[in-house]
Symmetry: C2
Subunit: 399 residues, 2 copies
């Protein structure tokens, strides 16, 4: 990680400027931003704070906790204390922001109780608009600085995954393997979990799964899942002992200055059975085919349909991205400050890729009772195609 | 962890029964429960699901993902698929739950967009009540099975912390020490982070802080904080190298069957300066004094006031639970499935302790530029007093 992990001031100004352009375009007079990842994006720091962004003028960052850190970490010009929610109306009156007609809120993440407070008590006359789609679309296109962060995350993940062959042995539990890999990420600065925007979505540093556990679905929006340590957290590594000759998927992400990468590689203690090896080769060809089509203008839903059709033609359609009733209808997802960003390479999505988007493509096949075989790489969409950011060779590593 | 991590069926029935009693008492006809920790509590499993609990009758657990796991893990009697939100009204009509007058929702955690969907589209005639206070009060009193889980978590934490003296050396970074401690928790089944109910509150497996970093506040509701790996996640262990003769606080929690403990112990590579050692002794006496007063009927706010007055009398009031403008007004918190449960030993809180409550008491002193000195133990309130569940000796370990 670089010595100064702060968002460069020029970049922060640009983010605000582009957000304000979108607010004006949508006719939103004032946006109140509160969620951690959105604050990291627009304020350059995560605090207990209210970021008020008018469609025109200078944003005001009202910090309840911690003001000194906000001043040290944020490139925003106007940073002031907020002693409590009850002080908000007075500040708004002083700014002339108390009688806006259209107010933007993050409606997918803002808790109901806070939504009612803002919409009934603070701005009772305002029409509330959901600014989450604006924020998610803005954040989907990464700057060179953001891509540099994601490259840093990819280097961190590569280092952690390179340790697997020296650690993996049959008889160890999934959790023991996860502990080894994750400790390497942690030493390099990973906070310990992926940030996810979706409500009730939770994940640690990834999912390390072996044999049949790789085919167990979980509640989160992932093709894999895993048993996890128990019903209260039924995903990811479990106490299951890794056997010989069964697939071990290592799906993890590094972290640098807030930004994530996402990568899946396959390992096996022994040799992968011939049919699973063939399935892996089909997945690898599909990933290469998809990578070649990641370019500006490509339609997200078309990429998903191509993946489904390719796997069906290979006789693997029943295994693609889940099995039975438990499937996920996507083959890739954006990522950055959160692991569930736009664009989503999902069924019927008419959205088009654009330069600067970063997307994890993760074709995976699920074989009930046997396991998961798949790959995942994080790509940057460039003007002319796509560049892969996660650089480990796409091989099954036999130990 | 025990072989079967499921909530016992009799216990699950009892939880539902007590929740229904409270719903009837509050005049709520039907509650819709969706948040992960509340589902873990009432359904015994975390799924993408709607749990409908009528004030009278049998609850219905509608599972969008994953139905098979819900049937395997949950002790509830009625479990059915929910193909999508659009199917909900039809199911409600069949159950006679479509025209309830009072509907209970988790208003502190339910996102605004979902709240509006339920209150405008699904139950447009219902008056919405916030059932979070009911759920939090129910969950504050633990059963013997839950206490057994927390004991398991405490054993896990004790094992991890016992490794610190063998690992700590001056010159290593906070993150390197954290990686070692956390890997031990992870091997034993910790999912990798604390669940927190408060919106925008996030934490990994704890906060391991050294010297001046221990005195840096963070946005979360903790007396400590720390620099963290950067402004996008400004809490917990950082790249700072641990020096000689400075306090190192290891604030971590174990995990067993969904339940957490919380514990803080102090270490030092070398010797703790005399004044910080004296501060530690004052904190230890305060913790012992508070522990002796943790009994049924004790008023939470009184315990906090006692702590403040004791520290003021010792000349340490300016350092208690923060410094300068950044303080937290509590000295302890409940915990279980989440780390921010009731009861809260906070300023002016008239709530009283009751048998079965589990509370982490964490008197901490912050010395800007020098660090944090404190202790934390998790206690069970019994009929006659309190039993400490975290059992490591309350010593500063000099390495």
């Amino acid at each position: 990680m670089s010595a100064d992990a702060r968002v460069p001031a020029a970049e922060a100004r640009d983010r605000i400027r582009r957000f304000q352009e979108r607010l004006r375009h949508e006719g939103v007079e004032l946006a109140l931003v509160r969620q951690n990842a959105d604050l990291a994006y627009l304020a350059g720091t995560v605090q207990d704070a209210h970021l008020l962004v008018p469609a025109r003028g200078t944003p005001l960052f009202l910090v309840r906790r911690c003001l000194d850190r906000a001043r040290r970490e944020s490139p925003l010009e106007r940073i002031a204390p907020l002693a409590g929610l009850s002080r908000l109306p007075g500040i708004l009156r002083n700014e002339g922001w108390d009688d806006v007609r259209t107010l933007g809120l993050e409606m997918d993440v803002l808790p109901a109780r806070l939504y009612l407070h803002y919409s009934r008590e603070v701005w009772p006359e305002a029409e509330v608009r959901d600014v989450t789609p604006l924020l998610r679309e803005l954040r989907a296109v990464k700057s060179p600085w953001e891509v540099d962060c994601i490259r840093g995350a990819a280097a961190q993940a590569a280092e952690a995954v390179a340790a697997v062959p020296g650690v993996l042995r049959p008889g160890m539990t999934e959790l023991e393997l996860a502990a080894e890999v994750e400790a390497r990420l942690r030493r390099r600065g990973h906070p310990g979990f992926f940030r996810m925007r979706g409500w009730n979505q939770e994940i640690g540093m990834g999912q390390i799964l072996s044999g049949p556990a790789g085919a167990v679905p979980a509640w989160t929006q992932t093709p894999a899942g895993g048993e996890g340590p128990g019903p209260a957290f039924g995903q990811g590594a479990s106490f299951r002992r890794i056997g010989r000759n069964e697939p071990v998927s290592v799906d993890i992400g590094g972290w640098d200055r807030g930004y994530l990468c996402d990568q899946t590689r396959m390992f096996v203690a022994g040799r992968l059975p011939r049919d699973l090896r063939a399935a892996f080769e089909a997945v690898r060809r599909l990933l290469e085919d998809l990578a070649a089509r990641l370019r500006p203008g490509a339609v997200c839903g078309d990429l998903y349909r191509l993946a489904v059709e390719t796997m069906e033609a290979a006789g693997l359609g029943d295994h693609f991205m889940g099995s039975g009733a438990e499937r996920v209808p996507f083959v890739g997802h954006g990522l950055g400050l959160e692991v569930d960003e736009l664009p989503l390479l999902c069924r019927d999505n008419p959205a088009r890729l654009a330069p600067g988007m970063v997307v994890a493509v993760e074709p995976k096949l699920i074989f009930p009772g046997r396991g998961l075989v798949g790959l995942e790489d994080t790509f940057l969409v460039t003007e002319t195609g796509a560049e892969v950011l996660t650089t480990a060779p796409r091989e099954v590593i036999e130990v």
